[in-house]
Symmetry: C2
Subunit: 270 residues, 2 copies
């Protein structure tokens, strides 16, 4: 039986189980990730963030709930950085965390919202159609198609239970954001994530949507944009790179135990 | 800021957050229950089991995820009793726990599956139709309509996204179980719970299905029946009362904190 300390947290309802691993000792199998992320037989989360101490700094080993490896997660990076500061592993202020997509700068005040530098967007050529709508292709390290709708009622009425059909689709597939301008530098969006389905929030999708809107409007660079997603509100600023700001909330800490890849709390730890 | 110790557990994937409250001090608002049971912004569970010390024994204060009060939950009672024994609050063996439906006897070995006495079933008169199928009405304290299907393919093909239409329905509505005989004293079922939707498991529904099947077969009293639900396998024996046996697994313990009805872990506890 192995005991693992954990923290549960979320950013705009994109939720994570954090596993502190300062000495990089934890072998995290895909089966164990799935067991932890199981929302009924486990703790439940969209993914696991292993908090790995490496070379005097911290590396975010992010795993999707299905056990697969992902390069980067904007909501995850904010929650990861909030944990580092609240647990006393890093000073409040600006810090750099390692990710598979390279080092990322995160600004973490002692209390309040966290900003992560999401890097530079890449605008992809070509027009992509979803039904009668034209979509714009933006890469934030991962591929997005952004479609702007005219009104909020159209957004609310979308059926995102199946992946939107994109013609032509991108080579590696795409996340799709449906966006509505709701006010001065304000957007509302819903997102269908590649391989997942509709989610409450998607950090890269929020950035891609703001970038596509700013491009189309021809204004709004270096300004704060407010982006509402089903799980809350994020702020995006496209300066040199794209800065994503939003809540990063830790809700519980605890201990779980594994018997192989199965979760089972020993009686002496109940 | 209030800190609450918790344990997370499940019985056949019917999952619960347990809140030990030996001195009956905890004011559990509907808002706080909803925050705890929120599967993204909270811990996530089908319900909360407040473990209340009363008169030298233990009372199960069960709340549904929506914050409403429920009288009794067979899977919850097993997990509740497993917690009492593993935490050293009760001796392994037979114990009686208080519930809003009255005292319930639970048999908890030091290790392994837990049996709860679900009381006597009540067979209700009348036939109820769901489409071309005839259903039998059984009360296990709450109302059930049990429909027997011919084959497992029919079970797998059911669409339970909407409540099955029962003609006539029971006065207070009903849970509906679709059942297939899969072998000698073996059933497989899917359940639509009143006000909830399809669930991974339903303790009273499993008992009602076994009772209806035994009644129709005219045999099988005082015998163990194996009942497969989407979340696992339970054993039912209809003796004088109905005994429900199955897994009760504690997977994690921890601490959460509340700032009013909001969950927010203080930095000093991360």
């Amino acid at each position: 039986m192995t005991y693992l300390d954990f923290v549960k947290g979320h950013g705009t309802e994109n939720d994570f189980v954090l596993l502190p691993d300062p000495d990089d000792r934890l072998e995290l199998s895909a089966e164990l990730v799935r067991a932890i992320c199981d929302r009924r037989a486990g703790i439940g989360a969209d993914g696991v963030l292993r908090v790995v101490g490496i070379d005097g700094g911290w590396f975010m080993d992010y795993r999707n709930a299905d056990g697969s490896i992902a390069e980067m997660c904007g909501n995850g990076a904010r929650v990861f950085a909030r944990y580092l500061v609240d647990a006393g592993l890093a000073q409040a202020g600006e810090l750099v965390i390692g990710t598979r997509a390279g080092p990322r700068t995160v600004a973490v005040p002692a209390v309040g919202e966290v900003t992560v530098d999401m890097g530079r967007p890449e605008l992809l050529a070509g027009t992509h159609r979803i039904g009668r709508h034209a979509g714009v292709a933006v890469s934030m390290g991962n591929p997005h198609i952004v479609v702007t709708l005219g009104e909020e009622a159209a957004l609310a009425g979308l059926d995102l239970t199946a992946p939107p059909v994109v013609e032509p689709g991108l080579p590696a597939g795409q996340n799709v954001e449906f966006v509505v301008r709701t006010g001065h530098r304000a957007l509302s969006l819903r997102v269908h994530e590649r391989g997942v389905g509709e989610t409450r929030s998607c950090g890269t999708g929020v950035c891609a949507a703001a970038v596509a809107t700013i491009m189309a409007a021809g204004q709004g660079r270096d300004e704060d944009w407010s982006v509402r997603v089903p799980g809350g509100v994020l702020t995006v600023r496209w300066a040199d790179s794209v800065l994503l700001t939003g809540p990063a909330v830790l809700v519980a800490r605890g201990r779980l135990s594994t018997d192989g890849d199965r979760l089972l709390l020993g009686a002496d730890h109940a």
